[in-house]
Amino acid sequence: MKNTGKLAPHRAGSAVLLAAFLAAAALLPLTAHAQTAVVEKDAATLEFERFRAEMEEFGPSGLWEDKGEQLWKTARGPKNASLEKCDLGLGPGVVKGAYVQMPRYFADADKVMDAERRVVWCMVNLQGFKEEDLTKSPFAKEGQDTPEQTSLITYIAAQSRDMKIAVPQKHPKEIAAYKIGKEITGYRAGPYDFSCLSCHGEEGKRIRMQNLPNIASSTGALQAFQGWPGYRMTGGVMLTQQWRMADCFRQQRFPQPKYASDAITALLTYLTVNANGQVYKGPGIKR
């Protein structure tokens, strides 16, 4: 919790609750590992659901939203510029509603970009940060500072809370990203012959007790989109969709996808377009 920044007054009480929650969350994995009996495992699951419900009341992601807002508005980097001229697709500086309308085509980059990729592009092109510095260790790790782009994404995503997902499919490159993303979901390779669809291609399936959304369906795609960026209880870190996609490939036994690459944007285009028309609830909590 290093990146708390300035806490809004209404969040001060939440911070106390959060601390209590974190202590409990730290105990949870221990409980699950130490006790293998069926009943206790179930109890752990129920306990988690109870915590999640409580947590969602105020949302720990608020801490990163605040930090992200500061980062967005502060002049920084070698060019000493703020991100208020960054165009997230709705015009320079317009943040409201931008998250639920990405990935989209950006003429200045001549590329389709998802929200995180766009933020990195703006940090490089407007603020003068070095791309290799931003992509070296792009995801939060336990006990380390949260990468700046993660806080920025959390802020941007929060500005689309309760808004309808409306990812455009007009530009030929947007359509291509969707089609290629769809192909990627079915691409089996690696030692276990897995593709995304090996686990996420049917309704009502599970790995162990974990429910698996079918990303080809509109409700399943929404489930996969919802809650990201999310505060992940495993490790107690804030993570993004870019991280989520990479971790799926890890479990698929694939090599590692490059951060903010075409392939991840294509996959996110496919996923998010499939969720179009449904309401995004904002940054959330993940197990």
Binding site: A176, R188, G190, D193, S198, K258
Partner: protein
């Protein structure tokens, strides 16, 4: 059908002309996706870059969306069956207790796994097996009472189970199940122990 054959032919010619035009206009998305994957992935830990390439079987499954024409499927299965190496001692069944441990473990082969550690069978990730474990996945069929429902551990059944675990594509060309023996994830003894978990009358699976 009163149509004159000439009209019919003309119709077929026109249809094939237009469909070929439409076909040419539609980019080969699979080829584009593969090119993109090759650009955008990198080695990490033991998950080397080479894993992004399909092998022969994966190519066919991917091209046919996992439902190859029967003729092709038969050839694929025959080829996969040939990869199966059976134990030299002819013993196909090991110890169900150690099989249960292997079935529980889901570790191995990811870029965060330590290379060289024994790889797990991942079995409970997708299958119900022993009734004592209620945290099981549903991607694969239930294996509860596997041996009991098949009349016990006959040699044929042992061979079937061993082959299925060694190379699941021997029986179903584009099965979701990995080829555990073929890719060197599980060794001979581990597969024997899993066969015992499924077929040994003493295994909780068959109680």
């Amino acid at each position: 059908m009163n149509r004159h054959p000439a009209y019919l032919l003309l119709g077929v010619a026109a249809a094939s002309f237009f469909s070929s035009v439409a076909f040419a206009a539609e980019p080969d998305w699979r080829a584009e996706a593969i090119a993109m994957l090759k650009r955008d992935f990198q080695s990490m830990g033991q998950a080397s870059y080479e894993r992004i390439h399909e092998d022969d079987l994966q190519t066919l499954c991917n091209k046919f969306s996992n439902t190859p024409p029967e003729k092709v499927a038969v050839q694929m299965m025959a080829k996969q069956q040939k990869t199966v190496k059976y134990p030299a001692d002819g013993q196909l069944m090991g110890d169900w207790k150690s099989g249960e441990k292997i079935a529980q473990s889901g570790r191995g082969f990811t870029w965060t796994d330590e290379p060289g550690i024994p790889v797990g069978g991942n079995c409970y990730n997708c299958h119900q097996i022993s009734p004592k474990e209620i945290s099981y996945g549903t991607l694969g069929p239930s294996l509860f009472n596997f041996g009991k429902l098949r009349g016990g551990p006959s040699v044929e059944m042992q061979k079937y189970a061993y082959t299925k675990i060694y190379n699941a594509k021997s029986y179903n060309a584009c099965s979701n199940m990995p080829r555990f023996g073929h890719v060197g994830a599980l060794n001979e003894q581990q597969i024997k122990d899993l066969v015992a978990l499924l077929l040994d009358p003493e295994s909780p699976v068959n109680k």
